[in-house]
Amino acid sequence: MASAIERVLEIREKALKEIEEAKNLEGLAVIKNIYLAKKSELTSLMGLMRELSQEEKGAFGKAINDAKQAIQDRWAKKAQEMEAKKLQEQLEKEAIDITLPGKEMKAGHINPYYIVIDEVSDIFASMGFEIVEGRDVETDHYNFELLNVPKDHPARDMQDTFYINENQLMRTQTSAAQAHTMIKNEGKKPIKMICPGKCYRRDDDDMTHSHEFGQIEGLVVDKNVSLADLKGTLEMFVKKMFGEKREIRLRSSYFPFTEPSVEVDVSCAKCDGKGCAMCKGTGWIEILGAGEVHPNVLRMCGYDPEVYSGFAFGVGIERVAMLRYGVDDIRRFYQNDIRFIKDFNKN
């Protein structure tokens, strides 16, 4: 009996030693076959049980089961270690140069012209304005006549306007779209709109002039709309567009479609109004033209100027972009040199 138990312990020690010395998972599999299979020596030793007394059976059985359990546990532990090591080796082998280029998923760029249009549109849309896009080809009637620029007015000179025929022309201002909206409303509905878009003038192209250029013009028509509403609206716009600290000032000016008319200066963002090269030392930069809608315009577009009043304003897109981004030449916007456009991103 004692020798049988001794034999069990012997096998146990041998097995544990072999497990410890196993080189790889294959070796471990062989060990498992020898010591833990159904027909292993330990299992066959169970045959001796029959010859043992009840008392001895207990002790011998326990010794065998303990030995099996110990081998099983050690084997499992060893196998786990080896698998972990093998995986580790595989992962190390799979390591790559993380500094090589990734898949190109970069967003494209944007001509700064559109950044300005989008921003101005977003600001006014958030202030409850509608965005109306007119057409580039307009009639004389909508581009001039309805906006209080009668025939023979110098602004209608052939020198300044591209004509297609006597009645049709390339719009010189996006406010033509305002006239369309007013006429469409038949003098009834209030209006709060901006119209962004391209305009055309018969200017030779140079650093600051372009025969095509972008403009955003706004119009508000309702009862009791005054210059105070214009001033408040433009102040809000300027702060949202150019920063909280910006201020505006109004200067008397002249446009045929507004009376009174004003030029709107914005305090220079670069020097904070102290005076610098950008604002030519004045601390102010001229950005917008605006005014209270001329009663003639309301009348001609079907609104009763005794009941309705309104204000209008206009801003040049490239001019804002040039000031904001330090663009030296208006022609760059139309050249689309990718090296220029690459500097501009927008989400």
């Binding site: 409850g128 000179d157 591209f162 209030p190 025969h211 105070a228 008397s252 009376e259 689309n336 990718i338």
Partner: protein, 796 residues
């Protein structure tokens, strides 16, 4: 208009105000001062008397002068002016004098000591364009009585003046007259304004007549003046004209210019003795040559305004007198014309002939029609005073204008309502009074009289402008317009979709461009597929390059690619969305250009852009807009133009409408645009796609039963489209859920003219789990259908 502050000061006191401050006040009130100029800028001047003039020993043109500078003593000055001579009184810049270009120091010139400099006026900063040739070529010759040794030389010369250079807005034509500038400044500063009065006694009755046969001349006033002597103008007048930027010619011409500057009324003078008849008639129906006083011949057209006498053209109305009746130094007998001409007519003629003058500019902008008599009285008084005229006639006039005083009725509440202000009646009345509008108040209502020079003022809104521009815009308290539920505001769904397309393309790596809508005639039909209407063509283009309004945009974007490629930026992905117009339709197009190499991982993984890049973007846009695959189809482009590669391009149709084209460029087009080896172009009728009605998204319930999948390898003719195979498989049985291609092969292992497609088909039933035999039976149907229709060789 140039405003001499010295002259202005004769009418309203301004000599106690910094010119810059005055300029800023005027600018904010709507009379923009572009620049404040000083006539001359020099210190350390005096007047000297040349008492000796010797040749310089070491020079063939220099003189060595001894100049007596009175209390400053006698100095030796080396001078190069050819007119330097003994006895001459000259301007001397003493040692230490600062002139615009130079500071005077004692020096030695070719071995001779020189202490000071004798000056020409331009050396003091006077613009050469106001000076005669003689004044520019030598030193200034002062009169014999010039006081030697004085300090205030600029004052003596009348050059101690500042000039406000006005940039006039179209509505303030009245600012073209000094009298009105004085009235404006008086109103701004709240100071009294006064003008001298002119009166000519003993006027005779002229035998000459005036008439007008055209509405372009509604008023023609004339006076006859006799016994004129032409000579240089007095110094005070020369000084004013110089300050105003007008060159002094002689007393007669100068008076004409002076009165025009003073009153804004252009004048013309005729040598009466040279007129063919004792009449002046305004006509507008003469054609043919006209020889003007500049010795050039101009071709008159019908509608040009002409002043004729005895049937001969004497003056191109408001623009230029004829050679035939020009006033010259021998003239003694003058007809003075002060008329009102139609500005538009003058502008047309002046633009056509390229002839513009101070006179024509004033007519074009509009003049005061009510001051004719006054202006001629001033002129005649000056002609008598300065030209020794012996007699002036009464006015002979043709006048069809209504000279009733203009009155505007408005009210305090209207003015405050328009401005958004709370001005009191006292404030408004005060400001309108100093603006010379003579307000009369009755309760809330205000009646103002419009001065005749304010031809811009017509109604209440004009009065409100006067109030705010003179009181200042800082009086307006900002507020925001009340919101009105009738205006929805914000972007429309269509605008939001357009923005989404732009974002999608930018996020896909494309850059957004902006190109000119005007293109050259040669390319008006380049890459035109979506709109074949007739182009709009400009009547008056500036250049041939910008003559036609484009109706498609891809050509412009290809030009952008070509520009960049020429500047070593060879790999591009760009797009533009732009409105397009033709006589047939107006739309908004999207074009895309992919040129060169697509860098999928820098230079590590790259491939040339091809048709499928374009197709992917187009499908992405369509899916973004909710346009399902069954709404559109693609087909080969039906064209014989060598623009797209015929085998690698496609047209996109919705129903029968062509809505887009896309594809690799034809080798010929690649060459023409300098686009390298590979370039893909797309143009979509974006407006059409944005307007297309699409169904609302709705949830689909995930299927309950599993799907089964089978693969199929087909060998078919190369020309067979995958899309046809796919459709046919789908149509075979409703258990077919999806068909996808996972391999395409052409090459040596299959026959020439053949290709092999490997296709995966998935099957699903909504009612149960499918069994192998069920799927196999459908597969058999599919295989046999493909065999029959496409003669397909099927390998499983």
């Amino acid at each position: 208009m140039k405003v001499s502050l010295k002259w202005l000061n004769q009418f309203v006191k301004v000599d106690d105000i910094d010119p810059e401050v005055l300029a800023s006040k005027m600018t904010f009130a709507g009379v923009e001062v572009e620049e404040v100029l000083t006539l001359a800028k020099a210190t350390g001047l005096t007047i000297g008397h040349i008492i000796e003039c010797e040749e310089h020993p070491n020079s063939d043109h220099l003189h060595v002068l001894k100049v007596d500078e009175g209390k400053y003593g006698i100095h030796q000055i080396v001078c190069g002016a050819p007119n330097a001579r003994k006895g001459l009184k000259v301007i001397v810049a003493k040692e230490g004098a600062v002139l615009p270009e130079v500071t005077i120091v004692k020096s030695t010139i070719r071995g001779v000591e020189s202490d000071g400099m004798c000056c020409a006026l331009y050396e003091l900063g006077v613009d050469k364009k106001y000076l005669s040739e003689k004044q520019v070529s030598g030193i200034e010759e002062l009169p014999e009585d010039a006081p030697v040794g004085i300090d205030n030389v600029l004052e003596y010369l009348g050059l101690d003046d500042s000039i406000l250079d006005l940039k006039l807005l179209a509505n303030r034509s009245d600012m073209n007259a000094m009298e009105n500038v004085a009235r404006e400044v008086g109103a701004l500063l709240n100071r009294p304004v006064s003008f001298p009065t002119y009166k000519v006694e003993g006027k005779f009755k002229s035998e000459y007549t005036v008439a007008s046969k055209t509405q372009k001349c509604p008023l023609f006033g004339m006076r006859e003046i006799k016994g004129i002597k032409t000579k240089p103008s007095p110094k005070w007048m020369q000084e004013i004209l110089t300050a105003e930027g007008v060159r002094s010619i002689n007393n007669v011409v100068d008076i004409g210019n002076f009165v025009m500057l003073l009153t804004g009324q252009p004048l013309n003078m005729y040598d009466a003795d040279k007129l063919p008849a004792k009449e002046l008639v305004a006509v507008d129906d003469v054609e043919g040559p006209f020889v003007a006083m500049d010795d050039k011949t101009y071709n008159l057209e019908k509608n040009d305004l002409l002043i004729s006498s005895g049937g001969e053209g004497m003056c191109l109305g408001g623009i230029m007198t004829s050679k035939a009746c020009e006033v010259d130094e021998n003239t003694t007998h003058v007809l003075l014309e002060a008329a009102v001409f139609n500005g538009a007519s003058i502008r047309r003629t002046s633009n056509r002939l390229g002839l513009a003058s101070e006179s024509s500019a004033r007519f074009v902008k509009g003049i005061n029609p009510d001051q004719n008599e006054y202006v001629m009285e001033v002129t005649c008084a000056l002609l008598k005073d300065l030209c020794e005229a012996t007699a002036a006639s009464e006015t002979v006039i043709y006048d069809t204008l209504n000279h009733d005083k203009k009155v505007v009725n408005t009210s305090l509440s209207y003015i405050n309502g328009r401005l958004g202000t709370n001005f009191s009646m006292e404030e408004v009345v005060e400001v309108l009074s100093r603006d010379h509008l003579a307000p009369v108040v009755d309760g809330d209502s205000i009646t103002v009289g419009i001065p005749p020079y304010r031809i811009d003022m017509k109604e209440g809104c004009d009065v409100s402008e006067e109030v705010i521009r003179l009181l200042g815009f800082e009086n307006i308290t900002s507020r925001l317009p009340a919101s009105n539920p009738e205006v929805k505001g914000g972007y429309t769904p269509k605008q939001l979709n357009k923005q989404a397309v732009r974002r999608f393309l930018r996020y896909s790596g494309l850059s957004e461009c902006l190109t000119y809508s005007l293109i050259d005639e040669k390319h008006k039909d380049s890459f035109c597929y979506l709109d074949n209407g007739e182009n709009y063509v400009l009547m008056n283009p500036l250049t041939d390059d910008r003559k036609v309004l484009r109706k498609n945009t891809l050509y412009s974007l290809l030009s952008v690619a070509s520009y960049n490629i020429a500047h070593q930026e060879k790999d591009l992905a760009i797009f533009e969305i732009s409105d397009v117009d033709s006589k047939a339709k107006a739309s908004t197009h999207l074009s895309i250009v992919l040129a060169g190499i697509s860098h999928e991982r820098g230079d590590l993984v790259k491939k040339p852009y091809d048709f499928y890049d374009a197709k992917g973007l187009v499908e992405g846009i369509l899916s973004l807009l909710g346009i399902k695959e069954n709404r559109y189809r693609i087909a080969r482009i039906d064209t014989d133009k060598a623009e797209f590669h015929p085998g690698r391009s496609a047209a996109i149709y919705v129903g029968r409408d062509l809505v887009g084209v896309m594809g690799e460029l034809h080798p010929a087009a690649l060459k023409e645009f300098g686009l390298g080896k590979s370039c893909v172009g797309v143009e979509l009728d974006l407006n059409y796609l944005l307007d297309l009605k699409v169904g609302q998204d709705k949830a689909s319930i995930p299927p309950r039963f599993p799907s089964m999948s089978r693969d199929l390898a087909l060998v078919i003719g190369k020309g067979v489209n995958y899309a046809d195979i796919k459709n046919d498989i789908k149509k075979t049985d409703r258990l077919v859920e999806n068909v996808s291609v996972f391999d395409v092969y052409e090459g040596e292992h299959i026959g020439a003219g053949k290709k092999s497609l490997a296709i995966s088909i998935s099957f699903r039933s909504a009612d149960k789990t499918l069994t192998d035999p069920e799927v196999s039976s459908v597969m058999d149907k599919i295989i046999s259908a493909l065999r029959i229709k496409y003669n397909a060789e099927v390998r499983s």
